[in-house]
Structure formats: C-alpha cells, structure tokens
C-alpha cells in the first residue's frame, strides 16, 4: 500500500488523469445550447403557457365556466367571472390567469371536466410589464390557435389529459363517470 | 254451495227483488237485532281474513277501529280492483251488488259507522251504474238511510269512482284520493283504523270481505270456520286467466290446491300443451314453476311454497309464452303505476323495465341479470308501500325460477318465442 502511494505521489498520476479528461473534452463537441439563438425543444406534455381550448366547430371556447380550475389552483391565480349567455347557457365573461403567480402544476388541466384548458409547449413569454403576463380570455384563446390548434391539440388530450375522455362514457349526451379500466 | 256467487245464474240477480227472493237481507234482519259488539265477536270467531291480498284478520281490524273513541267513523269498501289478472270482485259488483251493500250495512252497524264509501275502480263504469241503482233500491227498501230496517240506525252509502290509478288500491292512497288529494300512500302509523278518511277512524275492506259478512251472519261463525282451510276459512273467489280451457271466476273453499283449480275446475291447459308457469295471486305475487302447483291456495300455505295468495288471481302460462316478456310487461305496468313518492320505486321500476326491454330486444349484456337482481334487491324492503316490493319481487322470482330463459335471451341476442 505504502509503495503504491509513493508511486502516485512521485509521478503525479492524478494530475495526468485530470489532464487526460481536459484534452478529451477539448476535442469533443460542446454541449452548451446557444439560447436564445438556439431553442430548447420542449418535450411532449411540457407545461408552458396556458391556452383555452377553442372548439373548432363553433370557434368558441370549450370552457363552461364551472370554476373548478380556479378552485383547485394551489396558487389561486385563476379568476373566472361567469354569467348567463344569450342562449341561456353558462359562459365565462372573464377568464383570467395571473402568470406571475402560476406554479405550472397543471392541476387546472386535470380538474377541468370538459378539457377546456391546456398548458402549451410555448415557454418564451417573458416581458417587461405585468399586464403582458396577465392572461385574459382573448389572449388565452389566441394562445390555443397559435400553439395547439389542429392535431397537436387532439394528441395532447389523448396523452396528457386525465381522466381521459373515455372515462366519461356518455349515454344520450349525459356524462356518467365510469370506473377506469385496470 | 255458493255463497258469494249465489243467484248468479239469474239474469236479474242485481235487482233487489230477486236478491230478496233468494234469501237476501235476511242476515241484515238478524244483525240489526244484535249488539254491535256481538257482531264483531262473531266475525272474529269466524276467522275471516281480508280478501284484498294481505289476509289481515278482519275481526282484529274491526276491534282496533271499534276501540277508537273518535266519531264519526267511516267505512270504505275497496273496489279499486287494479291488480292485473284480478277480476274476482267484478261479478259481485255487477251481479250481486246487494250482497256487498248488505255486508256493508251490517259492518256499519257493527262498527257504529254511519257513512260508507265504495271506492270503485275507474274502469268499471257498468258496475258504477249497477251499484248506484242497487243503492237507490236499498234506500227505497229502507236498507240504507237514516232509519235502517226501521230500527233507527243510520247508514249512508256513496259510490266514488277512482281515476284509474293502481296505487289507489293501497288503503291510505285510496283515502287520500277519496279526500280529493293526489293518490299517494300516507305514512303509517297512524293506521286508517285510527286516523283515516278526514282524520277519523276508517275501516277499509275489500269487496269480497264485506260480501262474506252476510254469509257469516247466515250460517254462523262455527259453520263458516269449517269451510276450507282451518287457518283461514271461508269461501274464496279465484279468478283464473291465461292458457286454461275454462278461464273465469270460481267460488271454491279456501285452500283448494292450484293443481285442482287448473286441472279439475278449469279443464286443464288449453290445447293440451304443458304448463310453464303460474302466477297465483295477481301480478305482484311471486311466479311459481309447475313443480310447485300442489300447494293449497290460502294465506297460510302459499308463503310456505314461495308465493302469496294475493287476490287469488291465477294466471296460467303454457310452454309457448316468453317469460321475459311477461316479466317486462309486468314491469311496464309497475313503472307506469308507480306514484313517484319514494325514490326506489319511482326510479327503480323504470330502470328494471329498461333493462328487461333491452334483454327482450336482444341487446342484453351478460352482467344485466346480476344488475336486475341487485336493483330489485335494492327496491324490495326499502319502499314506502308494497307497490315497489311487488315490482322487485316479480323480477327476483322470475329470474329465480327461469334464469336460463333470461340467459338464453342474452346469449342468442333475442327472443325465440317472437313470431
């Protein structure tokens, strides 16, 4: 043992090992991403900027203003003011999210009984004003059209929305919660 | 010897003169001389049991009502014969109305009630006319009115026509309906014998029960109690419908076996086919398979054989009948007639009916039979009145005795009896 230690001390083997790694790294390509020139690809299901789902059939929001997202929200950053619409249906007059307080837990997505809110993969929305980070209904619906419209949105709900639509097997247009298989 | 259908061959049997000629109103003559308490004692001694379906001892019911000090007391004859398959009261109402009137006047005297109502089924307009005519005659003859038989007794009788609800055959719902309210059963207790029509003591008895009273008066309680089964004696009207050679109403001693009724009195199964099932006492009593038809038809023996005497309405089904369809038809009836007061019956009957109609249409699923049993079990014993119990037990008993037939419907996706 003593002998080995002496050899190590005499010949600076640790330093040589370290230097070897340094040389190796010098020759291999760099891992640093050059953000913002180079963008980070978001994984599917990434919890980014919020969007309100727009029903392609009607062009209106799917939200029924039940307020469950606001109720579950741990940071209480969702504000909903609902009213009776012209067709006597309930709708959200104002749907607002204070992004500066949001913790991106996506509980709102899970609480929603109709799949009306999503977190998009978009994450670049820093701004100099608080107003820009205060999402209104119009902004949230624009977000959907911008980032999630089309098959991407459908895909999202299949994969990331729980309970999935299949759990609400509907008879005669009436939702009836059924036990999840397995 | 016929007591209830006495004189029935006479085409004018409903007329008071013909009735008197055949010995009618003799019992009344005898009864008005007796003390009210003595009449109640005789009825009690005779062992007469209510013929409406539950088989409650009539004498006991009268004793309860008699013990209540409140006056006036009311007498109600339940002629709301709504149970599917039942038509036993109809011959009395249409052919022998004075027998009923005589029975009611005697009962009125016994119970010191001065007003009687006949709550008549809405679908019996002929009976209404006949009864009204008979009551008019009885008034003229002095059997009804302020001075019955010249003895200073008061008894008035009114016919009230129902509006066709099955539930109004239940005594408290009948009273509600009579008072002009929505026909729904009341909370019991208090029972009608204490708080009945217009919050006064009220005795509700079946047509056949009242019609037995003159017979007890005539032949005496001892002789009466020797007719038929010793536990529940007396003559009984059985009405047989379905696949028999000679369907109809038969007056037989209580306790005649089902086999005797079907094969001896009714001439066996129509066309010599084989028997598949019998419902012995109206649709709400449990169905019996052919193996069980040796039971005596009375209030005591029937429960031992897994069914009930009910109203004595025997429905006979031969081998060509789809029992799922029979069950479905019964549930359609119960769904339609459920009054809606209590949750299990209101919602459960509709649910059972929709599952059954799915099975009958060949859209049944494997778990449906278990669902049927479970849902029926959830109805039975939890409803407000016996209507729901009846609905539930129909399904339970049909599945109990004929489960393979239900399974076949589901497996084969349809009904093989459908033409």
């Amino acid at each position: 043992m003593e002998f080995k230690k002496i050899i190590k001390t005499i010949f600076f083997t640790e330093i040589l090992k370290g230097m070897a790694l340094t040389f190796k790294s010098m020759l291999s390509p760099a891992v640093t991403r050059q953000y913002p020139e180079e963008k980070h690809p978001a994984m599917p299901g990434f919890r980014g900027l919020h969007a309100l789902v727009v029903d392609p059939a009607t062009g209106k929001e799917k939200c029924i203003a039940c307020g469950l997202c606001a109720a579950i929200c741990p940071s209480q950053c969702i504000y909903i003011y609902s009213t009776e619409g012209p067709d006597n249906k309930k709708f959200a007059e104002r749907y607002e999210i204070e992004l500066t307080r949001c913790i991106y837990c996506a509980f709102c997505v899970e609480a929603c009984p109709v799949g009306a809110i999503v977190l998009t993969e978009h994450y670049e929305y820093t701004d100099y004003s608080r107003e820009a980070l205060y999402m209104t209904k119009e902004k949230l619906m624009a977000n959907w059209n911008k980032y999630m419209a089309g098959p991407k949105g459908e895909e999202y709900f299949k994969k990331f929305w729980h309970p999935t639509a299949d759990d609400y097997r509907a008879y005669d247009g009436q939702p009836m919660f059924r036990k999840r298989e397995g | 010897m016929n007591y209830l259908l006495k004189n029935i061959e006479n085409p004018n049997s409903f007329d008071v003169r013909e009735y008197e000629k055949a010995g009618g109103y003799r019992s009344l003559k005898k009864a008005v001389e007796m003390e009210p308490a003595a009449i109640i004692a005789e009825v009690k001694k005779s062992g007469l049991r209510g013929r409406g379906g539950a088989g409650f001892p009539t004498g006991m019911k009268w004793t309860f009502a008699n013990a209540d000090p409140k006056f006036p007391k009311y007498l109600i004859c339940n002629a709301d014969e709504g149970e599917p398959g039942t038509f036993k009261d109809r011959p009395i109402l249409e052919k022998n109305p004075h027998l009923l009137i005589e029975g009611m006047v005697i009962s009125g005297h016994a119970l010191r009630a001065e007003y009687g109502y006949i709550y008549l089924r809405g679908e019996y307009p002929d009976a209404r006319d006949i009864l009204n005519r008979a009551i008019k005659q009885a008034y003229e003859k002095g059997y009804l009115g302020d001075n019955v038989m010249g003895k200073g007794l008061k008894f008035h009788l009114t016919v009230h026509l129902g509006a066709g609800a099955y539930i109004c055959g239940e005594e408290t719902a009948l009273i509600e309906s009579l008072e002009g309210k929505r026909g729904q059963p009341r909370i019991k207790p208090p029972f009608p014998v204490n708080v009945g029509a217009f919050s006064m003591p009220t005795i509700v008895n079946n047509v056949e029960t009242f019609s037995n009273i003159p017979c007890i008066m005539e032949i005496g309680p001892e002789a009466y109690s020797k007719i038929g089964s010793p536990d529940c004696p007396g003559p009984k009207l059985y009405c047989i419908s379905g696949h028999v050679e000679k369907p109809g109403v038969y007056e037989l001693p209580m306790g005649t076996t089902l086999r005797e009724i079907i094969y001896t009195h009714c001439g066996g199964i129509k066309g010599g086919k084989s028997l598949k099932a019998v419902i012995p006492g109206g649709i709400s009593t449990p169905v019996l398979p052919p193996s069980n038809i040796d039971c005596p038809m009375d209030f005591v023996s029937m429960p031992k054989h897994g069914s009930m005497l009910g109203s004595g309405a025997v429905m006979v089904f031969d081998e060509t009948v789809c029992l799922v369809k029979v069950c479905l038809r019964a549930l359609k009836f119960f769904e339609h007639e459920s009054c809606g007061k209590c949750t299990p019956c209101r919602e459960g009957t509709g649910w059972l009916r929709s599952i059954l109609s799915r099975i009958e249409d060949g859209k049944g699923e494997k778990e449906d039979i278990d669902t049927l049993l479970d849902v029926s079990g959830n109805i039975v014993g939890k409803t407000f009145c016996p209507l729901g119990d009846g609905a539930g037990s129909v399904v339970i008993n049909f599945i109990k005795h004929f489960r393979p037939e239900f399974e076949e419907h589901i497996e084969k996706k349809g009904c093989k009896y459908k033409k």
Binding site: A65, F177 | I187, G340, E347, G381
Partner: protein, 857 residues
C-alpha cells in the same frame, strides 16, 4: 322519560320525537332529503333508513317516533348499502351537470353522493329529459335535477299558504309545476328555493354568476323593505352583492322571506344610483364636489335660521335610514333651533302607537312575531298584512292552519283563503264594526276585566253602538258580528294586527285599544318601512326626544340640550302634513329631506309638490333621483342599506344590526348629516356608526348603556337595558261621528299596497319590476263587467283632484265595489287622485275623496 339507544349511545328524551330529531339533537347525523324541520312529514326519499332492533325492515328515521327501549343503528353495512342504492336510484335520472349547476357546493345530493354514493354508475339507458323552465323572470325550474322530495310543494302549501305549485304526472315522469303553467303566477316568496336540496328550483337573478364557494363574505343583516325586519344573509363576492339568502330558523322570520326581501336587492347595484352631490345652478341640477355641496347646505340653512328663525326650517327623517342616521338627523334639525321634524311614520304608525301606549301602557306594541302563530284568534284591521308585511301575513296563515279564527275588517285579499270571516265595511267605517264587536263582547262578558280604571271609565261613557246598530250602519248582518264577537271572546289568546289606515285614525286606534284590553290581546302594528319604530324611538317626532321622551318634560329636554350643546326649543314642532301646509303658506322656508320622497309618498301629490316648490331651500339626501330630489336645490347621495353599519328597530321593537357588506365611495347618511352639522357648529364627532350608538346610549334613557355587542348578543328586545317612559296615559275623546258610516255609495277608490313593491327601492329593482312592471287599476270581476272593462283595457280614473289612465287588471281577490290603485309607480300614484283630512289627535292624513268615475279608453 324515554330512553333509547342510537349507535350504542344511550339517549334520554323528554317527549316522543322522531328518531331523526333525536339523533340530530345528539349530534348523530342521518342523511335525508325530504325531511325538513318546519315541514310536515313525508318519508319519500328513503335516504334516512335506519336499522331498528326487532323491526324486520329498515325504517325511515324521519317518520319513526321513538319508543322507550328502542335500539337504533344509523351506520352499518346494510344501511350504507341502502343509502348507496337510494343515491344510485336518484342519480339515474339526475343529470351530472354539477359543473354548471349553481347549486354545486351547497347541494345535499352532491354531498351525500361524495359521502355515501356509488363510485360508478350502472345505468346505461337514456335519461328522462325535461327542458329547463326558463319562462319565468325570477325562478328557473330544472326538473331533470328534481329528486321529488316535494319540499317545495309542502313549503308552498303548508307554510307560505300560497298553494301555487304541485307535483304533476306520476312515477318517474313526476315534476313540480306551478298551477299557472310555465310561468309562476304566485307570491314569489321564493321560500321554495330555500328548501330545495338540489338545483331544481333556483333564483334567476344570480344564475350562473358565481359558485357557492367563490363567496368571499357572508354577512348577517336585516331586510331593507318592511318593518318585520327579517334576518337575512348577504353573500358578497369581490365587493359585489351576489344574493341574499335567509337561514332557516334565524331571526323573527325563522328563515322565511318575501319576494321583496329575496329578489329586491338588485337596486343596490342599479346604474341609476346617485353618485355625486348635485347643486341646482340656473334651474338645473349639476354635479358638484362634496365640499361645495356641504358648504352650500350649511350656509343656506344658517342664513335661513338667521333671517327667519329656526322654526322656518323643517326636516323629514327617513324610514329607510338607520337609527344612527335618524338620531344624527334630528339632532341637526333641533340644533338648527327647530322641532319641525317628522317622518312617514306619521302616516299611521306613530299616531297609532301613541294612542295604544297612552291607553294601555308603554311598550304595548312590543310583541314577538311568533305569538301570532300561537294565537287562537287573529283580528286584522286596517290593512293587508300579507302584502304590507308578508312574513307577518305568513304567521297569520300559519295560525289559521293551526285552527285559529282569523277575522279581517276591511280589504285583505292576501288572507282571502286563510280567514274565518272577512267584514267589508265602508273604508272609513272600521270603527263602527269595531264598536259593534266590542259591545257584543261586553254584553256577553258582563264585566270589564278591571286593572285599568281610567280606561274602563272611558269605555263606560263610549256610547258603543249595539251589534244591531253597527250592523245596520255598515250593511253587515248582526248575526255575523255576534258570531265573530263570540269567537273572539272565546279565544284564550288573541292577536290584533293593525294597519296604517287603522293606526292613523284615532277612533279606530282607540277602539283597537279597548278591544285589546277587554280581550287581553296582543297588538301588532304593521310597519311599512324598515325603521318606522326607529324614527319614533330616535326622536324624529315634533314632540318627542330620543328614547320616547316627551319634549314637554323640561328636565330631560335640558339634559339632552346640554349634552348636545344646544338649546332645544320648548315648543312642539309641526307634524308631517302641517309642515307641507306651512311650506305652502310660507311658514317653512327650508326643508331637509333624508331618505324620503314626500313629493310622491304624501297624499294630495299636486299640492304637496306645489308646497315643496315654494320652499326657498330644499335639500334631499337619497340614493336615487326621486321626484322630490328633482325639485331640490341640493341633492346629496347617500349609501344603501348593505353599504353601511347601523341598526334598525322593527315593528316588534327589536333592535337589529345592519352590517356593512360592500364598500363603495360615498358617505353614509349620518356622516353627511354630521358634516353639515359640523359646518353649522354642532358637536358631531362621529367616526363610525358605533360612536353615534354610544351617544344614543348616553342620551336616550330607553337605550341607556346599549352597545352593538348587546344587540348582537340578544339584548335587543324592548325595553333593552333602559327605562321605558312610564306613567304616561292619555285618553283622547272619541269623535262624535266615530260610529257613523259615511253615506257614500258606489265605487270607492282604495290604496293598493302591492305585494311586489314598496316605493323608492323596489321600483329600482329589475326583478320586482319584471313581475310587476306598471301601475294597474284593480277591479273585481263584477265591477269590471259592470263597467264593460276587460283585463288589459285602459281606463281613465277620475276624482275631484285629477285623473289617471291605467291598465285594468281584474282581480278575483277583491270583494265589493272597490277600485285599487297603488302608489308606487312614477306619475301613476293613487295619491295624485285623493285628498286628505288630518286626524285631530294623531295628525295622520286620512284619505278623503274616494269617489271615482271610471271610463273606458
């Protein structure tokens, strides 16, 4: 003593109650839908099934009465299976639309399904659908959600007595329907809403506007519409009033409300609310700053005081304002050297109460409302309690249901189905009938009860008409009067409910006192405004100081004056109508009106308006631009009932707290008055309403030592902790013509007190306007057909004073030749058609000139 065992816990009970009640009283919860403490038993939902030893079937706890030795289990596997199955049954046809249902969060079904319900549904068939009933402006019916507990029906027929709804159809197609079809045509009390355990009947007003858990604050306050002073809870979200709800069992109303209380609150958020002070410049009211407005008021009042003396200034206090407001107001007016302060209570309430107290003793109208329902006989005179004070009316109906004899003298259509007898003498001849009743009762009783000698002496010299004479004078049958007298005399507990018309007439009021004395009856004085009693108690009367102390008592006057730092003039001021007369003759130069609308609410509108126009200076302090405010030189915007703290004193003389639920910019009435007072040089150092209460407690002997904590703690019943004024008897003389019925024949114009309206506030409530949008002429079918008028026709109603064109409404509740017009809608008030004479003692204006002619237009 009954001993039972529930869940192995031994429970002792004094009297047999139901198992459910016994369990509840001992903290054991049994779930139930159809049972409700105040409703009759039903036993239909089957949710409360329990196991009872020696009973083969499960029993409903709500209908089963306990018997000694009963052993009950409320939790077991059988029971939870039963509960689960009942919930499953309910859910098969119940839509799972909780996300949009307004009831979610306070729904019993939701709670029970969470607790006991199945996790998965097995029902695969189509559900039974019912379209939502949206045809009614106030009540939405969603029959899909209905669980047929029939609580609403039992409430409507059993408690409210309206019998407007029923269950139709049968079985699983049953639904609750109003008899009037798709739209309700009922009293709109909304008590069915209170008892619905699910979202089947809901208010349209706040539909879809918030979820129950989003309510940020719940404040218990008092209804601002009438003198019953119903306790209610205001639900607030983000500083906006979302709705008011009663709480069953709470307050004198025990959780019942009427349409005004329940649906009338929307005026608070009305866009027509006054926001800025207005000053009349060049003949037009123009916005001004608070400083400018207050300075103008103070300097003009001071000028007029200096030039014409304090007596040229008059104040009308507000029956909608709190005790604190009114106390400050009378202090201001007295500080200006005037006793000319009065209020709308002069129309009958104050005068009537003075006579009752004078003849029977102080505090005689301080009777708890619950006493009515326990009465054996109720006599109603001079008004329709079911319309003026609807919740009081419900108590009378409850008494009738329990078997009490209810007798009405005069028109009371609201009690049409709940009375033993209704006497309809000429509207000015109530006294004749009363006289006949009294003499018939005395004839039977032979002797007076003794105890109140002066009153008995008075009775012996009253020259009461015999029952026959009374009957002849007012065209009634003598047998009727005799029979009713027997019924009243035979009852062991009698309540007399007195309306404004009877209270204002000294003869009728005296006869009520006499009747109350000989029958030992309780007197209930109907109060049309929330704080009429408060006006009296706070000294807003020309001859009374706070605490119901007469001005004439020098010691107290001096003491009051000293504590306020002023000299209170010793002369009694002018009463309400005298002020108006003085204004028109120039005796009054300035008037300060707080929370009142004299230009519309006082009789003989045209002359009143004229008089107000003649004033040199008129200040109106209100929350809306009323007819009076339009004439004002300065208009000061105040705060509404939900925006301020304070107290109301209701008709039972119970002081109740009003609490601030929402805050908006502006000043409370007392604050405005205090600001004016400060500018005049009065000591009014009030920072909050409680400061005024402290001063009241110091100044008023009746309210001595009373604090808000006492009031909330239940020390709120007369005479509180203070001293009532004693030894104050006065017996006015009956008029010579007290027992003569006017000879007038033909159609008589009557004031309709509409159920759906009560003046300034209600006419700004969209909900109340939607059910009663316009002034109508109500006629009985016979009268209408005699005049060849049909429902919806327009008719011109003319009297000596003027004429109005009104829509005809045929009302089957009206008996006799009477035409009813309300005094509620702008420009269409009855008071523009009638004149008045002043009662010599009560100084209340008594309506005159009821002869009308009606022409079809």
């Amino acid at each position: 003593m009954i001993t039972i065992t529930i869940n192995n816990k031994e429970i002792r009970l004094e009297r047999p109650v139901t198992v459910l009640e016994a369990a509840k009283a001992n903290g054991i919860k049994i779930p139930h839908f159809c049972h409700h403490g105040i409703l009759e038993q039903w036993g239909g939902c089957r949710m409360c099934l329990v196991e009872v030893e020696k009973m083969p079937r499960l029993q409903t706890a709500c209908t089963l009465f306990v018997t000694d030795g009963m052993v009950v289990m409320t939790e077991s596997e059988t029971i939870s299976n039963a509960r689960r199955s009942v919930l499953e049954f309910i859910l098969i046809n119940h839509p799972l639309d909780c996300p949009v249902c307004d009831k979610a969060g306070e729904c019993k079904l939701q709670d029970y399904v969470m607790q006991y319900g199945p996790t998965a549904g097995r029902f695969k068939e189509p559900k039974i659908r019912h379209p939502e009933g949206l045809n009614d402006p106030l009540i939405v019916r969603n029959q899909e959600r209905c669980i047929m507990c029939t609580r609403c029906v039992r409430m409507c027929s059993g408690i409210q007595g309206a019998s407007a709804i029923a269950v139709t159809n049968r079985g699983n197609h049953s639904s609750m329907e109003p008899f009037s079809g798709e739209r309700f045509d009922c009293e709109y009390c909304g008590n069915c809403l209170t008892v619905c355990p699910v979202g089947a009947i809901m208010s349209r007003l706040h539909r879809y506007s918030y979820r129950s858990w989003q309510v940020t604050d719940e404040i218990q306050t008092v209804c601002p519409f009438c003198g019953v002073g119903c306790t209610m809870i205001a639900q607030v979200r983000d500083n906006a009033l979302m709705r008011v709800v009663p709480k069953l069992g709470l307050g004198s109303n025990k959780g019942l409300l009427c349409n005004r209380g329940r649906f009338g609150y929307e005026y608070v958020g009305s866009g027509e609310r006054l926001k800025n002070p207005l000053i009349k410049k060049n003949g037009k009211l123009q916005p001004a700053s608070w400083e400018e407005a207050l300075d103008t008021v103070a300097s003009r009042l001071k000028d007029i005081k200096n030039s014409s003396g304090g007596n040229a200034i008059a104040g009308i206090a507000g029956a909608r304002c709190t005790n604190e407001d009114n106390y400050a107001f009378q202090k201001l007016i007295r500080g200006l050297g005037s006793n000319n302060i009065d209020s709308i209570a002069r129309m009958g309430f104050a005068g009537g109460q003075r006579i009752f107290e004078g003849m029977l003793g102080p505090g005689v109208t301080s009777t708890p409302l619950s006493g009515i329902a326990d009465s054996d006989a109720v006599l109603v005179v001079g008004g329709d309690p079911s319309e003026v004070n609807p919740v009081l009316g419900v108590h009378i109906r409850m008494a009738f249901k329990k078997g009490a004899k209810v007798i009405t003298i005069g028109h009371a259509p609201g009690l049409g189905r709940h009375r033993t007898a209704g006497l309809l003498p000429h509207p000015q001849a109530d006294g004749v009938v009363m006289g006949g009743l009294i003499s018939a009762i005395l004839k039977d009783k032979k002797s007076l009860p003794g105890g109140n000698r002066p009153l008995e002496e008075k009775i012996t010299v009253m020259h009461l008409p015999s029952a026959d004479d009374a009957a002849a004078a007012c065209k009634l049958s003598a047998e009727d009067i005799g029979r009713l007298a027997k019924q009243l005399a035979g009852a062991s507990s009698v309540s007399i409910v007195v309306g404004r018309e009877a209270g204002g007439n000294k003869d009728t009021a005296m006869l009520v006192s006499v009747l109350s004395y000989i029958l030992n009856a309780r007197i209930y004085l109907m109060s049309e405004r929330p704080n009429e009693q408060g006006l009296v108690d706070m000294g807003c009367l020309p001859d009374m100081l706070p605490g119901g102390r007469p001005l004439a008592e020098e010691g107290l006057r001096k003491k009051c004056g000293a504590s306020w730092g002023i000299d209170i003039p010793a002369d009694e001021g002018l009463t309400l109508m005298e002020m108006i007369q003085a204004a028109s003759s120039g005796g009054i130069k300035a008037m300060y009106v707080m929370g009142e609308n004299p230009a519309f609410n006082l009789p003989d509108t045209k002359n009143t308006e004229e008089a107000l126009r003649r004033l040199d200076f008129l200040v109106v302090q209100d929350i809306f631009m009323t007819e009076t405010a339009r004439m004002a030189d300065v208009v000061l915007p105040a705060l509404s009932w939900i925006e301020k703290d304070g107290t109301y004193t209701n008709a039972e003389r119970k002081i109740q707290r009003l609490k601030k639920a929402i805050s908006i910019t502006g000043m409370e009435d007392w604050k405005i008055v205090a600001e004016v007072g400060k500018r005049i040089g009065l000591k009014m150092p009030y920072g909050k309403a409680a400061d005024i209460m402290k001063e009241i407690a110091r100044v008023s002997p009746l309210h001595a030592g009373l604090t808000y904590a006492d009031i909330e703690g239940g020390d709120n019943l007369w005479p509180y902790k203070g001293e009532p004024h004693k030894n104050w008897f006065s017996f006015p003389e009956l008029s010579a013509d007290a027992f003569t019925s006017p000879a007038e024949e033909g159609l008589c114009l009557m004031l309709e007190k509409p159920l759906f309206h009560s003046g300034t506030l209600s006419r700004k409530s969209p909900a109340l306007n939607s059910i009663s949008p316009e002034a109508v002429l109500r006629l009985s079918p016979a009268t209408a057909s005699g005049l060849n008028l049909k429902d919806g026709d327009f008719a011109k109603v003319s009297t000596e004073k003027g004429s109005l064109s009104l829509k005809v409404k045929i009302d089957r509740g009206i008996d006799g030749p009477a035409a009813f017009v309300s005094n509620n809608f702008e420009g269409r008030g009855l008071f523009s058609l009638t004149g008045y004479r002043l009662d010599p003692v009560t100084k209340s204006p008594l309506t005159e000139g009821r002869q009308i002619s009606i022409e079809k237009e």
